[in-house]
């Protein structure tokens, strides 16, 4: 037996050396980390709940109400025009309803997740398609609908000729001249009926927007589609979102709206800070301005920033809740949280300082737009770098390939 034992030991010892090496490695001290204990209890599900249930779900309900009000206001305006009345007041009311609706929408658009973002933003684009907008084709639709209202169907049209962007164009005409190089067939024949024709198309589109808004609100409504709960319970049984991390990544992806849409497109390209379609350098490019017909870009950017702040900090009407800032603090990145919220507040302050007329800001106070752009860049620099790294999140649309 002895020789067998010796042989067994000889065989076993090197194996144990290897195993012991691994075990020793596994039991290495933590190297005296700077931070040993959590400073705050953090509830990631609570963060998801705050954003999904408290911020977004009521927002979609509010937007559905606003969209319905807009539809009613446009219908009322059309009725006044059809009755050959003075449409000045009803037009003002319709425009005000549009501004209310777009302000609510812009808060939501800045954090677009879930049903509105599904299928490559299908529902989002049906409600508000900017930068997709084709004024000339809208003019053609004005004629088409006026000629055959019974057969005109908004549902069959492309996103660039419907949505709140098209409504803006239709409610804010600058002249009777078409946006097309050559007037569409039948345009000139509209004559004095042009305002009615425009209003008719606007009404058809606002009805569609109201329908889509209601569908979106229903998709989020507790007791309805209840997507807010789906997002809030990510990673739990019953949610279609498999992990909390995926839920957080969805919201993180949505926050990148600030980078592409606000920083680069709404501010940068419009003001000639970022390369644009006009080829201007440090000069405005009006065709890149978001709400160039209603001149509501200041309103839009303010609403975007407000929506982003609510989602980032979990703050609603001044009441703080769980947000990404708390998450960052909880994992030990308090400096980053402070810096990002500070830069967000700086951007909001600078947006508030902009003239109500974004077009006049571009014309006479471009420095204010440049300052706002710089403030948003400070946020997105952190968003794209340390924020993603610290929270272990992925950049949006990064679907292809492996790592190593």
């Amino acid at each position: 037996m002895a020789p067998i034992r010796v042989a067994a030991v000889r065989t076993a010892v090197p194996a144990w050396v290897l195993a012991a090496t691994m075990v020793a490695a596994c039991s290495s001290p933590d190297g005296g980390s700077a931070v040993d204990a959590p400073e705050a209890q953090f509830d990631r599900a609570g963060l998801l709940r705050r954003i999904a249930v408290d911020v977004l779900t009521p927002g979609y309900a509010r937007f559905a109400t606003d969209a319905t009000a807009l539809d009613a206001a446009v219908d009322a305006h059309c009725a006044v025009l059809d009755a050959s009345g003075d449409g000045t007041a009803s037009e003002t009311a319709a425009r005000a309803a549009w501004r209310t609706a777009i302000a609510t929408w812009q808060r939501l658009d800045a954090v677009m997740v879930g049903p509105g973002a599904a299928d490559d933003l299908r529902l989002r684009n049906r409600i508000y398609a900017w930068p997709l907008l084709a004024p000339c084709t809208i003019d053609q639709d004005v004629v088409a609908r006026w000629s055959a209202p019974g057969t005109f169907d908004v549902a069959t049209r492309l996103d660039n000729v419907r949505s709140l962007a098209a409504v803006e164009y239709l409610l804010h005409p600058t002249s009777a001249v078409s946006s097309c190089p050559l007037s569409p067939n039948g345009w000139d024949a509209l004559g004095a009926d042009l305002p009615r024709a425009r209003c008719g198309l606007a009404a058809a589109i606002t009805a569609d927007v109201a329908t889509q808004a209601a569908a979106l609100a229903e998709a989020w409504r507790p007791g309805g589609g209840d997507y807010g709960t789906t997002l809030a319970t990510a990673g739990q049984g019953g949610s279609s979102i498999p992990t909390e991390r995926e839920g957080l990544n969805m919201i993180s992806d949505a926050l990148f709206y600030l980078d592409k849409m606000v920083k680069d497109m709404k501010l940068g390209e419009s003001a000639g800070i970022v390369i644009n379609a006009c080829g201007t350098v440090e000069e405005p490019c009006l065709r890149e301005v978001e709400h160039r017909f209603a001149d509501a870009s200041t309103l839009s950017v303010r609403a975007n920033l407000a929506g982003l702040r609510a989602a980032f900090t979990g703050t609603i009407d001044g009441a703080d809740g769980l947000g990404f800032d708390d998450y960052l603090i909880a994992v030990g990145a308090a400096d980053l949280a402070t810096r990002m919220v500070g830069n967000l507040d700086l951007a909001i302050t600078r947006a508030d300082a902009l003239p109500e007329s974004f077009l006049s800001a571009l014309a006479s106070d471009r420095a204010a737009v440049v300052a706002l752009h710089a403030a948003t860049k400070a946020i997105t620099d952190d968003l794209k770098a340390q924020f993603l790294t610290v929270l272990g999140l992925e950049i949006p649309d990064d679907v292809a390939g492996d790592n190593d």
């Binding site: 691994m22 190297g31 991390r245 000639g272 909880a330 997105t380 790294t389 190593d404």
Partner: protein, 465 residues
């Protein structure tokens, strides 16, 4: 006896051992395993929907020096290309026209990597190397249709150096991947594992511990010890089996936690070369016995193992030297390879850093005006992610922007870049001198245009109870 004599004797002894015949089954089994894994990898790519995002969606491709002429096939062409690679992998597996198939596979797969630098993966590079070795090794002369069709070419034994070469190639990956972890972030701060594991607390059973500091430290040190020593344990007969079990567990874990594709499967399969060369034949014989069939005959080569020609020998020596030199070359360059990425590719710098960044190009006109150019204008999201980590990619795109500006009539513009990058959770810092004109920079020699790596410690994430 002089030192020269002693050296000569050692050399002669090594050469004799290298020429010693061993069972050819080892090479054949490796060829079959490689072919199967390559086939799985190709089918996975074909069915993943990644081909379009990798090759068709990008409007701009980042090129390797001297390979700017390599461009992607049209959409159908890339699908067909990968389908052909699958066929070639199958041919390698069954050993039909095996050498030609290996050569075409190596070239064809290398082509897919050369199209766009952002597609670089260490394990894809390894696949090209292993396929290339199959071209020169006599792996096709045993257990192959080639050998069946031409029995005179069949070999039952091969020289030992053939297996040594495979072991060397696999060993290089582990050892240099281990040495890449010999740095403060990995060993003293457990980064980037702390970041990656903290994001995986949804993992069943063990998730609750994954954001604990001690887990990150344990896994960092385990990974370092594993990579640097596993080859030794595999070479030692007494620890080989347990080492291989540990190896499989290690790769299963890394494959589960990290999105590293075929890497675990490739390494788990390739590491079988450390087992005795006769093992595949014995294993099949045992299976045959269990099935009640006659056992596979022991190798009886009608001829001795093939001799190595001078040209092939020289080629293999060069290969070995290059494989040792490439991973070490970053030591010749100033700065931290994880930051400037100078010498990072083809060097087994596997999963040793986490980088995210924000890159904005700034075109500066002679009159002082500035125009920002977001990389998004040119790149897909995947490319933009890679861009932020690699100064050479940032330089390439900067030059393209400059060329477009020149073509538009702005001959005197300068192109600078605001590249703020976070390394292992540190606050983002400028990775490239924000004042330097990228149009005047050459990527030959030390990257002095890249800033020094951050000197602060990486972040330490707290556990989230």
């Amino acid at each position: 006896m002089t030192v020269v004599d002693a050296g000569s004797r050692v050399t002669a002894r090594v050469l004799a051992r290298a020429a010693r015949p061993i069972d050819a089954a080892a090479l054949a089994a490796f060829r079959i395993a490689f072919g199967l894994i390559a086939l799985v990898g190709v089918v996975r790519l074909l069915t993943s929907g990644w081909i379009a995002p990798m090759y068709q969606d990008p409007e701009v491709a980042f090129t390797y020096p001297g390979f700017g002429w390599v461009t992607a096939w049209p959409s159908w062409g890339m699908d067909l290309h990968y389908a052909v690679l699958g066929v070639l992998a199958a041919l390698v597996t069954v050993g039909l026209w095996s050498r030609l198939a290996s050569a075409l596979f190596a070239l064809g797969f290398a082509y897919t990597q050369l199209i766009d630098t952002t597609n670089y993966l260490n394990h894809h590079y390894l696949v090209v190397l292993l396929a290339g070795l199959l071209v020169v090794l006599p792996a096709h002369r045993t257990w192959s249709i080639d050998a069946w069709r031409a029995p005179s070419s069949r070999l039952d034994v091969v020289p030992a150096w053939t297996l040594w070469l495979l072991r060397f190639q696999v060993g290089v990956v582990y050892v240099f991947a281990g040495l890449a972890k010999l740095q403060g972030d990995w060993l003293l701060h457990a980064q980037p594992l702390n970041i990656w594991l903290s994001a995986r607390t949804d993992t069943p059973l063990v998730g609750a511990w994954l954001d604990e500091q001690w887990v990150a430290y344990a896994m960092s040190w385990a990974g370092f010890v594993f990579d640097t020593t596993i080859v030794a344990w595999l070479l030692w007969g007494r620890t080989r089996v347990i080492a291989y079990v540990v190896l499989c567990g290690f790769h299963a874990a890394t494959g589960y936690f990290f999105n590293i594709g075929m890497f675990p499967l490739i390494m788990s399969g390739a590491a079988l070369v450390f087992f005795p060369p006769e093992l595949p034949r014995r294993a099949i014989a045992a299976l045959a016995l269990r099935a009640g069939r006659a056992s596979m005959p022991a190798p009886t080569s009608p001829r001795g193992p093939p001799a190595v020609g001078r040209a092939l020998g020289a080629l293999l020596v060069v290969h070995v030297v290059v494989q040792l030199a490439l991973p070490l070359r970053h030591h010749l360059y100033p700065g931290d390879v994880r930051w400037n990425e100078d010498g990072a590719r083809f060097a087994w710098q596997v999963m040793v850093r986490e980088k995210h960044g924000s890159v904005t190009y700034i075109v500066r006109f002679p009159d002082g005006r500035r125009l920002q150019v977001p990389p998004r204008r040119y790149l897909t999201a995947r490319q933009e992610r890679e861009l932020a980590g690699y100064p050479d990619l940032i330089l390439q795109l900067g030059r393209r922007i400059g060329a477009e500006m020149h073509a538009a009539g702005h001959a005197d513009v300068r192109v600078t870049v605001d590249a703020r990058v976070s390394l292992n959770g540190r606050p983002a810092e400028a990775m490239i001198d924000p004042e330097i004109d990228l149009l005047t920079v050459s990527d030959v020699g030390a990257r002095t245009w890249v800033t020094p790596a951050p000197s602060t410690d990486p972040i330490h994430l707290r556990a989230r109870p």
